[in-house]
Amino acid sequence: MRVTEHPILGKMDAVREVEFEFDGKPMKGYEGEPIATALMAAGVKVFRYTIKGGNPRGVFCAIGRCTDCVMTVDGMPNVRTCVTPLRDGMRVQTQKGLGAWEETK
């Protein structure tokens, strides 16, 4: 849920909306915000599944330290989505285990 109005911080600054892809589905977010917050605003909570037990994981620290929120972004696995800015046209995928590198053309 976006916090568009805030008693201390006021209205949100003007932001540019961009489109990105999450597991093949089109989604919208704000340019330059962390990929993680664009997903959370859309209600996504599971970012990856662990290598051993296949258990779900989401954001824990939100400052790029814990690596619980890593996903595959534009074919690159283990991208810390809480500190990686969202760009127009990004392809974001739920990561399974260690993820896999996409063949570069």
């Binding site: 849920m1 976006r2 916090v3 911080l9 599971v46 970012f47 989401g58 954001v59 939100a62 814990c66």
Partner: protein, 362 residues
Amino acid sequence: MMETEFAVVGAGPAGLSAALEASRTGVQTVLIDENQAPGGQLFKQIHKFFGSKEHWAATRGIDIGIKLLMQVEKAGIKVMLDTVVWGIFDGGKVLAIKEGDRNRRVRAEKILLATGASENPLAFPGWTLPGVLGAGAAQTLVNLHRVLPGTRVLMVGAGNVGLIVAYQLLQAGANVVAVVEALPKIGGYGVHASKIRRMGVPILTGHTVKEASGDAMVERATVIQIDEQGNPIPGTEREFEVDTICIAVGLHPLAELAWVCGCEFTYISELGGHVPLHTEKMETTMPGVYVAGDVAGIEEATVAMEEGRLTGVDVARCLGYISNRKAETLTREIQARIELIRSGPFGEVLGEAKERLIERRG
């Protein structure tokens, strides 16, 4: 290889203050931070700080951050963002950095590690489910990025972080169902506790989380009362329907760089665990390598700023930009201010812990 007199790693309150203090005397200073923006954790602190006027009392962290950044810009300090320091070589003289996609080295005569802290997790069944996150993480998401991690929240820990973040979640429109605290009494300031109590949030002392459960994410939390020994009391379980559990059980120094560069450590639980040994001028056991702020022991941002200044003064003195006498005067002034912040029941404990740390450094 890039060369500079003083390299500061981490552009939070400690790093910014150190860079300003040193560069004002003429020290050539470079400020390095892995984030896209400087300021560290100041920009998520939307509450007013406590203390005296010299310590930014009644000023919000976010406004302190804006002021410090303006001063850094005015001073013409080189700031390298999106730049990760991944190693320190040559006995603490050379930083290995990754600037965007490019690897390079920075040789510096003096280095300050002002890398801050990381939140402690808390293990209980279900603790890894999406929806369990740090209280500081929730604060970042809400105050910096304007996204709520959930709408029904259980806060674990009634220290200042737990109380302040619970209030800030309420401000942002979330429903905080309760704050649980394992200790028999609230750890944070009474003012913060009263604010959330007035909004109808119960603070359950002597309680802890027994379990978080849900299909692929948190759907409920079971809270249980504990006795004085910390054992759960069967039959006292209470269930809360929540989608978010925030963990506010302390922080630990983010000290990897101090470890890899060979600094000696000591364990002091009041300061967050393993802390690099340092002198009262913040120098570690590696000559020319300093620590300041949370990495030197978890305290308030106000102390972090003063520790940064202590470092800046000592660096300026060592490099010959100010006289020993001038440095001595400045150092005494800063130390007197730190003492003032540490007066009071919370600060006293930290001050004593810090004295032990400095004694151990010798």
